[in-house]
Symmetry: D2
Subunit: 507 residues, 4 copies
């Protein structure tokens, strides 16, 4: 309410109370003022009521909510369903214009503000989580893979003759496909085994550049966050190589924002060498629904170029989600989540290590991976690969999600390229293993439950292998869960249904 | 509640009432059953309560909502903000998997169902709105432009040698950029003037194909819905040419679903010739927020190929919006909206024609354009182009949105390509004009208000031109609106700020 | 957002767009201003977005939402559940203070405003629906019965010696109990039969007053809205009698606001005689959830006295519901609903009359009842009272709600007082009958369905009575409905379970 | 979804995922089953998604949500506003029937279940918080005062000759008015001073009973929770007296549920003597919006009698709020809140005591009051009563809510009865004081802020009193707060505006 309406209220309700209400309103407006002025994530999180007040104010500024508007265009922000209008806080016009996803829309001042503020707040978070010298970023309503594709498509205009992308292997389909979709040929660099860790083969990288010619490479496409025992790429060295050979460098930092190590690698890489853009997932780093990413970099012009490459308007939904989340958490809330994640990483490592020992296995030594852990499954392997895969199936039915079993010798062809040892980032990793990760939002309870169920599954499998009738291993004990079937394998939640997929072969 | 819980309820509340409640529940389940069985848009719209019940049921099936779940992965559908969780009905996992945007997610049976059902319902709508022989489609959380890009990127793998896209000119930036982003060179075919209409120059199309070689064309990229006086492309003839020369054919059907004429063109084109895919906007056809599109076609394999080209998961938000909307409207509700739109098109044409006459202008004769209309601004032009542009600015400040003023002689360079007569789809259209469209969701009130305000603006401009002090033309009369400034031009809501953009030149 | 924040926004988004947003905001504020200034129901309904903006503004003014508040009291408006906070728009403090339900709360300026505005808007509605001279009213979060009790309790302080309440019989338990709860002895005046109508026996009223002494009567308690064939009491004559004998007069106008006739009776009664207060249900007149009433009158002091009689704070929920509803509908929307109701009353009468004729029954002639209708069930009665009661049961299982079957000869004892012919407002009404009402919100579809199902039931009963196997009468045809049991009676939705209640006897 | 729909889903999505979804659904249903079976507050709180699923299921059972319903009654649960429907989860029919607020409604099985379950869950909470032998209770949508009135009105029917209610003085208006509203004459028993505490004067109680005659007393009306230095009444002794003299006994346990001491008093009173009913506020004990209470007792028949005394239906809103809250918290969550409250009571006492000492005051010694504390304001009093009152005003403007300043010598007349020393529960308490309470939901931050602000206010007042220009005392330092005016008194948040109220006199 404006001053006039507050004055009118004083006729109905004692003016000293109304004035206190006005004062209270100013408290909310003050928070908005600081946000608009500084463009930063607020130190302390806002209450939900301030967040909603703010969003409602933004919505009021969009033409579809003008009380006196009449629309005779083909895109007027009309909404047929009240449920839909409400869940978007009546912000209907999306973000961007046909020329540029970061552009301001005349019809939608509120949505445009939302877009600008979100990008500004997210930039602030990138800075305080470790990439201090980042200069520009924007939220794009596409997941990491498609966002990488957009980066590659943008680079094509700068390097029209390039055909290859140099890519240290990481067994995650969308990374690989992001290059194919953009129309380039990935040059896969196999990792080298150092202790238990799989690390970037720098010599091979340099060799390939020389072999194929630097000018034929669109870019180097490196990765930070990944499943152990692979560890983040040697970003500094790659960045130096890129600078030396004048090759652009795009970093897939999918869920790396949650780890100061990954962020530090990017900061350092950009300082000593060349990083053109780094891409991170919104959902994995900010606990919002799947579907958005942040494209960031150190050269404002290049980031602007990418944003102009997106043809047309785009969904504001991921921007809205991340803005609500960051305003609610505040910088302190977000940092607290990061600190908890780090602490629970240590806890998970400890628990997993103890469990491994009890079952004659061991926690792989992967100190360079700050998020993901791996436990060997050598003993299970002695009963055959089917037993290993069965573990995955058992965990799935017991509602342990995200625990990924990696058997030996899986072969998979993705868009014509065959990967041996698929899922393990290496043609022939020495042992099968199980992954578990301490990602943002994980709780101590998640770990406790996971260890308990994993323990039961391993015990049960071990008994079955010995020909005993397993009694404790069935999920029947856990009354909330599906009954597992008493037979070997069938379903692997990571690979999909075994046997039905002709490109997968177990040996 | 299940049967057991209903039985327990009978101990608390008379069993005859409980049984009636059970019966009522079956009513909702019955609707869901029919939906799952037939995969079609229900004839009659569902109540919001059925829609929400159904969405809640879907959410329960996703692992992030399992009561006993423990997550140790990097993507567990965790949500930090309750506001965010709620606005997505706790459906957090998005759609698709790394390999395919249409794939099923093990962690998210509910979201996967949502995705399948939405695509199935949307396919049904495509059929009953006119493209009866469409065989496959999917919703993609990208707007029309980026979706076209995805189609082009997919075709590249089929036609690796192709460089050109043949494109009958339409002055809409994102259409043009969709080709550049994909890395192709548009071959622009200027339209021919037939009466007032701008139509596809088929001779020039064929000439270009022969000149550059059919094998060098990735595809023909045609358009249905567009601003008058341009009319939908001659799809049938283009489709025949494509078949003859074995060139793929992608149709931009941005807001064409709302017009039976546009849909009929696609149906006929596919029948007599070749159409590989046609793309339509979600927001423009279904009154949902900006950010989604439908990619559809007649060959299931090709559509599948496109969906597999999208690397990684994607936002479920546009799918959710369109599903809610279609379940709420029902097929009958949607058809009713289409019928109203058509009726109001006639009304708008009549009103605009009468207004034009009163001001010494005329409604351009564009019978092939079923949605957009244009009124000449010849008389205004006698006072200079600035007067024409001023009209746009006045309408903007008077909250007439979507009424687009097209002055003569605008030149604009988009990514290196210069368009003369930009916005008018022709180098030199005979007159400046104003567009208004009857799009889905328009109301009789919109038209009444628009005509009234337009009338005032024209009167006011005419007086100003005569040197009179305009009294009635200021929006001050309309107390809800911004005061217009008493000076020539400055701002054009379509072009952006005049003068600050070096690529725009008025002559 | 305040002016300062709008200014800051201009640095992020073009100032012409921001200014338009500011202008749009003023549109909403303007609506609020008019509401605060005039205290009337707005002519045109507000959009949901204006309503929610307004409620959010009110909430901001309550201390539980102050950002800097610290609470060390026993009632601080804390909320444990976010779901609860949200569904009350964070308005937690309720209405009133310990001294007075209409008083302003220092801790809750927003809730206090809500309360004042609601009462003011409701007063306006009372005026334009017909009681033009009403001077004061308030919403109380108790249903009609308890609100009547509160009126009686207030009168006790004015007439400490009174023992009786004079009450023209109406067979609705809560009316009767409202007097007992207040501690008074109802003096029941049996109605007289005029044609088919049951009307107030004025002679008996006057006789009783003289018999027991006017000073011993707390008040006359009359009724407007009621089930046919009873008709609204002769309010004018009663009001004149009350004035003459100096007896207070309380009118139960439960769902009478929706009928101009009932409102006119009150207006006239007050003009020519005495009416101290009249009470109406919120849910029945405004289509909000059950639980609120309006207590209104012509003497501001007396109404104030009643509001001061309510000890302590009270729920704001009914006030919130009715305010949201009236702001959304606007005066015009509400009047439109009333006009539709009236029109559908005629339609229902016609349909019911035609149906009655087809089944050898007739529509009772009750022109003084503007809402409820009654159709005789004489022919059904020839098969016994069980057949009549069975009809009620069949309608219930076929989801015809509100159609009330009134058999002959029901006797019921309520708190020690035995009513013969209970439900029929008379010891021995000439025939059994079925009631149906055209109440606010009814639709043409409701009537069509009701007539259709009623027709089937009557046919089926007639066949059963003839010993035929009924085929068409089972609700099995209507697949959404419960199967009725093929046996006589058991359940009467109005009376409850027959036989289990020892006070009910069928003869 | 039912089994059939899950089966159909398996055609769209892999059956192993669907089966896991089905399993997950059963998890929610299992929680509902336990609730229905045991009727207890669940040990662990439910997720919001389970709560909403459950409420939606209940709503489906109400006739207003039947898909095939047709309504021809006067009360059909129709809702005009979607906002209203949604905020009540579409549960529109309220609770109770005309005969009984606890009765089941044929039209609303879901709402009826809601009502039954809420009462059952609340009974469980009463038991585990200390009144183990409670046998029956119900939630009533009226605040404590009106609920007490309902108890008195019910007793009237049992003791028609009684005129008096014996009431140990507690200075809270609604308690006092609850008796007047019911039409009885309170016999006020002044408290006795024991140390700093004000306690029940048992001798005077017995003397009054004998003086006026036990048979003339409707009941004894005692109080547990109250502001220090008054402490809970000697319930055991009062209960014994009631038993001895055969006088009913109603306990006002307004916010006593949150204290094991208060609950213990009731349990003991009932064990050794007579307690007929005890009434507690919903908002104060469960952190829900104002407007509901629980009426509970040890004799099921008497409680039933009270519930039957409520004439007509009633709002389900308070029941809904408390059910949502208790299902969300679970018994453990609620107990945790109680434990925190108790712990913070100790903390508040310590902090207040330290502060008092610094300012030459002392914390009054009131060990029998488990919730409220009082700090003397003797030194402030040396500057006059205006200084004391000014402190209240300063705290109000500094957003310290609930800190209640009690000056000496306030006289107030409530409905004809004059209280000397009003607010202090005694004609002449030895010193003025300030109250602060540790009530459920209080946080450590509340206490810290309160102590800090109180400290500043006291310092500022002390300087002002010394004629110094106060610098630190203005709330200007706290930028979020209203500027206090630099002059003595004006406003007391407890008393209202000083001077304008003729019944208040300062001396």
């Amino acid at each position: 309410m404006n001053i006039q309406n507050f004055s009118l209220s004083e006729k109905l309700v004692s003016s000293s109370y109304v004035r206190q209400g006005l004062q209270a309103r100013r408290g909310h407006e003050q928070l908005v003022r600081v946000l608009l002025q500084q463009g930063k994530c607020p130190e302390e999180g806002w209450s939900e009521s301030t967040v909603e007040l703010f969003l409602n104010e933004l919505a009021v500024m969009d033409s579809n909510n003008f009380l006196g508007n009449c629309g005779v265009g083909e895109r007027e922000g009309r909404v047929a369903s009240g449920l839909v209008a409400k869940r978007h806080y009546r912000l209907i016009h999306g973000i961007g214009r046909s020329g540029d996803i970061a552009a301001v829309q005349p019809k939608a001042a509120g949505s445009s503000l939302l877009n600008k503020i979100t990008n500004s707040v997210v930039l602030d978070v990138l800075k305080f989580t470790g990439v201090r010298s980042v200069s520009s970023c924007f939220v794009v309503p596409m997941a990491t893979g498609m966002s990488l594709t957009l980066c590659f498509l943008t680079l094509r205009h700068r390097r029209p003759g390039a055909r290859f992308i140099l890519w240290p292997r990481i067994d995650q389909k969308s990374c690989f496909k992001s290059m194919l979709t953009a129309g380039f040929e990935p040059v896969v660099i196999e990792n080298v085994l150092e202790g238990d860790e799989l690390r970037t083969n720098l010599e091979e990288v340099e060799r390939k550049i020389e072999e194929l010619g630097a000018e034929n490479f669109l870019c180097v496409h490196s990765t930070t966050s990944c499943f152990a025992p692979r560890v983040p790429d040697r970003l500094e060295e790659l960045a130096v190589l890129c600078a030396k050979h004048d090759i652009p460098h795009i970093v897939n930092n999918a869920y790396g924002m949650q780890s100061s190590k990954c962020m530090h690698l990017i900061q350092q890489g950009a300082r000593v060498g060349r990083i053109d853009a780094f891409v991170q997932s919104l959902d994995k780093n900010f606990m919002v629904p799947v579907g958005g990413a942040i494209i960031a970099g150190f050269d404002e012009n290049f980031i602007k170029e990418i944003s102009k490459m997106y043809p047309g308007r785009a969904s504001a939904s991921p921007s809205l989600d991340v803005l609500i989340t960051l305003l609610t958490l505040g910088a302190n809330g977000y940092k607290k989540l990061l600190a908890e994640r780090k602490e629970l990483y240590g806890h998970l490592a400890q628990e997993l290590s103890a469990l491994a020992e009890r079952h004659g296995e061991r926690l792989l030594h992967t100190p360079h991976n700050p998020i993901s852990l791996a436990m060997s499954l050598n003993r299970l392997q002695t009963h055959g690969t089917a037993a290993v895969t069965q573990l995955g199936s058992m965990l799935f039915t017991r509602q342990v999600s995200g625990a990924r079993v990696v058997p030996l010798g899986v072969e998979q062809t993705v868009s014509g390229h065959t990967f041996r040892g698929f899922m393990s980032h290496a043609d022939a990793y020495p042992c099968p293993y199980l992954n578990a990760a301490s990602a943002i939002g994980i709780t101590r309870d998640d770990i406790t439950l996971c260890i308990k169920r994993l323990d039961k599954c391993l015990k049960s499998l071990s008994k079955e292998a010995c020909g005993e009738k397993s009694e404790s291993g069935s999920p029947a004990e856990d009354p909330d869960m599906l009954h597992s079937k008493k037979c070997w394998v069938k379903y692997n939640p990571v690979l999909g249904k075994i046997g039905t997929n002709p490109t997968i072969r177990l040996f």
